[in-house]
Symmetry: C2
Subunit: 119 residues, 2 copies
Amino acid sequence: MSKTKETSTNFENKQLLIQCCSEVYAIEMISGQWILSILYGLVGGKLRYGELRKRIPEITERMLTLQLRKLESNGLVKRTVYAEVPPRVEYELTPSALKLTPILKQLKDWGEQHKEVME
Amino acid sequence: MSKTKETSTNFENKQLLIQCCSEVYAIEMISGQWILSILYGLVGGKLRYGELRKRIPEITERMLTLQLRKLESNGLVKRTVYAEVPPRVEYELTPSALKLTPILKQLKDWGEQHKEVME
DNA sequence: CTCATTACTTACATTTTTGTATGTACCATA
DNA sequence: TATGGTACATACAAAAATGTAAGTAATGAG
């Protein structure tokens, strides 16, 4: 009982943190081993599942699916299923995700500067 | 043997990804449950360990220490130890971390907009 | 000698994330 | 009937992140 309670309290704290603090919220959305690779894969336009997989050779199907679902439920990626056989599913960035890309560019620039400072 | 090799390969892939891709590098630096809370805690100026802890009531000492070490080794926080008893240790943001804060602000703004889009 | 203060460290447990391997549904084609 | 292509799902395992609880070193105050 106390175990369960503590755990749920921790979880609630985390949720609270994510909700109340928009930076945390934003970073939650772009964190995850493969999220950025997928976002960058889709910057050029919509891609099918298999095409995306080819662009990120190291990713496993399981991880690609999981991360795409996360991106979809977070409103960064739109998923379109065509009722065909074999199935065809296309993924594309949402307008909101497109607005995020210049900020990622800045993060990238900062990262490069910071690397030099650090050497 | 094959286990070990695969594991080390995965790790090397991750390291490679972090090294070659500055966005990933940057996001690695700011990801972690408490990293942002700590950065924001220090935006106002240097703080002692105990003061920082008071500003982030939910954090445990272990986590605060771990994350501060990560921030320090990543060059985002400077740690100064005074040879006193009881010990006094002060933490402050590096110039590089200060340059990061406007980008975090943008992430925050994006997060807020995105929340509204999502509701 | 005992206690308080500060900034930790250490051992261990739990939770979350990521990886591996295999299976599935659909139907057209051979 | 068997095979192939596509986009997954599922069970299980390993690794990484986070949490809990307790201990430590140094020394000045009482």
